[in-house]
Amino acid sequence: MPYARRGLLKAPSPLPGFGLSFGIMLTMLSLIVLLPIGTLLLRGADMGLAEVWRIVNTERVWAALGLSFRAALLAALFNLVFGLALAWVLVRYEFPGKRLIDAAVDLPFALPTAVAGIALTALYAPNGAFGSVLLDAFGVKVAYTQLGIWIALVFVGLPFVVRTVQPVIEEIDREVEEASATLGASRARTFGHVILPMLTPALLTGFALSLARSVGEYGSVIFIAGNIPMKTEIAPLLIVIRLEEFDYNGAIAIALAMLSISFCMLLAINLIQIWSRRRMGAA
C-alpha cells in the first residue's frame, strides 16, 4: 500500500482516497481554523505575558470578564436543571403537541442571535410585554441590567443540555428502575441514586456546551445588555470596542484571557466527567 509507507496510517486499507480526503481536510482545517487562531496566539506571544497581564489587569476588563463568566455559569446552571426536566418530560411523558414542543427546543439554535437579541429586548424592555408587568408588579428591571444578560444566555444555551441528555434517557433500561423499586426504594430515591448517576456524564457534556456557547455569546446579548461599562459590558463587547478604537493589543489581550479561562473551565468539566465515568464503571 502506498500510504502505509508514509507511517501515518496504522494499518493498510483497501479503500482509496486517503491522500485526497486527508489533504482536503488538513488544508481547510489549517486555512480556516488553525492559521487564524495561530495568528492570535503569535500576536499574544509577541506582546509578552507581562504586557497581556498589564492590559487585562484593569478594573474595566476584570468587570467584563467577571460578568461574562458569571452570567454564563448561572445561565448554564439554570439550563442544566431546566434542560433535564425538559428532556425527562419529552422522553417519558405523553401529552398532546409533544412533537411540536420537541421541535421548538431547537428554536434558539436556529434563530439568528441578532433576531433573538432584539426580540428579547422588545419583550423585557420597561415598555415591553413582559418587562412592563415585571416592573409594575415586582419592581424588577430586566432589560439593560445583568438579569437581561442572563435571560439572553439562558435562551441561547437552552437546547444543549436537552439534546445531550435526551438520547441517554431514551436508552435507560427500565428494568434497572424496576429492580430499584422492588428492592424498596422510593421513586425519589430511585431517581437520585439510580437514574441521575447514569445521566451525569451527559448532563456535564450539555452543561459544558451550554457554558462554552454562553461565554462567547455576543449577538443576543448586546441589545438587551445596555452596555454600560463596569455594569453590563460583556467581554466580547469590550473586544469589539477595543477593535473599533484600533487598539489591537487591547483586543488581543482580552481575547487571550477569555480563551484561557474557557480552556481551564472546560478542562475542569472534562476531569469531573472522567471522574464520574470512572465512579460509574467501578460501581
Partner: protein, 293 residues
C-alpha cells in the same frame, strides 16, 4: 398486560407502575416545562412577528424593498451559497479520512475540528482581522493589490466558514463510523472505481445525514452576527448582511424595518426547524444517534 383480576377486591389505591412518577408530579412537571418554554422560546418568536406587522403587512414588505435591504438579502444568500458547499465538502472529506482509515493523531484532529464551537464569534472575527487586516503584512499587500479580505466579502465568507466549520463533519462522522467499511470494500472487490464506490455506495447511505448537517450549517451561516460584525466593517449596501442590517436599523430606531428583516430570518429558522424535524421523524435511523449540535 396485567392479568385479569379474579375475585380479588379492587385495591383502594389506583395502580401505578413503579417506574413512573405520581400523576400530580407528572402533570405539574409538564405544565411547568411548557410554561417555561413558552416564556423563554415562543414569546420571543411571536414578538418578532408582532413587531414586524405592527403597521400592517404592507409596511413590513415595503421596508424590505429598499435598495440596502435588498443588497443585504442578496449578500446573505451569496455568503451562504459559498460557505455552505465548501464546509460540506470539508465535512465529507474529513468524515471519509476519519471513518475509513486508522491513522495516528485522529482523536486530536477531531478535537481541532470542534475548536470553533468553543471560540467566541467575536474572537474568531478578531483572528481574521489580525491575519488579513490592513495592519498585517498579508493584509497590507492584499489592500495594495486591490483585493482586500477584511471589510469585504471574502472576510465575511471566511468568518462564516470558521463559525460553521464543524457542523457537517460532526453529523457525518458518527453515522459513517456506524456504517463501517464493509459495503465500500465489497464494491471495490466487485471492480468499482473509488469515485464510483463513493457516489453509488457511500453517498446514498449518508445523504440524509449530509442534508441534516447542511441544514444546520446553513441556518447558522445565514444568521451569524458576532464574527461577521467584526470583519465586515458594516458598510451599508456592500458588506452589511441581514443580521448586521437588523442591528443598524434597530439602532436607528427603525423598529418596523428591523423587525421585518428579523421576521424574514425567523421564517428561515422555522423552515429549517420544520425540515430538520421531518428528517428526524422519517430518517431517524440514518442520522447520528445522539442529536447533538
Amino acid at each position: 398486560m396485567t392479568p385479569a383480576p379474579l375475585s380479588v377486591s379492587v385495591p383502594a389505591r389506583p395502580f401505578r407502575p413503579a417506574t413512573t412518577e405520581p400523576v400530580w408530579l407528572r402533570r405539574s412537571l409538564i405544565v411547568a416545562v411548557l410554561a417555561m418554554l413558552s416564556v423563554l422560546v415562543l414569546a420571543p418568536l411571536v414578538t418578532v412577528f408582532a413587531h414586524a406587522l405592527r403597521d400592517g403587512l404592507a409596511m413590513a414588505v415595503a421596508s424590505l424593498g429598499n435598495r440596502d435591504a435588498q443588497s443585504a438579502i442578496r449578500l446573505t444568500l451569496t455568503i451562504a451559497a459559498i460557505s455552505v458547499p465548501l464546509n460540506a465538502a470539508f465535512g465529507i472529506a474529513a468524515a471519509w479520512a476519519i471513518t475509513k482509515f486508522d491513522w495516528r493523531g485522529k482523536a486530536f484532529l477531531i478535537t481541532l475540528i470542534d475548536l470553533p464551537f468553543s471560540v467566541s464569534p467575536v474572537v474568531a472575527g478578531l483572528c481574521f482581522v489580525l491575519l488579513f487586516g490592513a495592519n498585517s503584512a498579508i493584509g497590507a499587500w492584499l489592500v495594495a493589490s486591490g483585493h482586500p479580505i477584511i471589510f469585504a466579502v471574502p472576510g465575511i465568507v471566511l468568518a462564516t466558514m470558521f463559525i460553521t466549520f464543524p457542523f457537517v463533519a460532526r453529523e457525518l462522522i458518527p453515522v459513517m463510523t456506524e456504517q463501517g467499511r464493509a459495503e465500500e470494500e465489497a464494491a471495490l472487490t466487485l471492480g468499482a472505481s473509488g469515485w464510483r464506490t463513493f457516489l453509488t455506495v457511500t453517498l446514498p447511505n449518508i445523504r440524509w445525514a449530509l442534508l441534516y448537517g447542511v441544514l444546520l450549517c446553513n441556518a447558522r451561516a445565514m444568521g451569524e452576527f458576532g464574527a461577521v460584525a467584526v470583519v465586515s466593517g458594516k458598510i451599508r449596501g456592500q458588506t452589511a448582511t441581514m443580521p448586521i442590517m437588523i442591528e443598524m436599523l434597530y439602532n436607528e430606531y427603525l423598529s418596523v424595518a428591523a423587525f421585518s428583516m428579523a421576521a424574514l430570518l425567523a421564517l428561515l429558522a422555522l423552515v429549517t426547524l420544520t425540515l430538520k424535524s421531518a428528517l428526524e421523524w422519517r430518517h431517524a435511523d440514518q442520522l447520528a444517534a445522539a442529536r447533538r449540535h
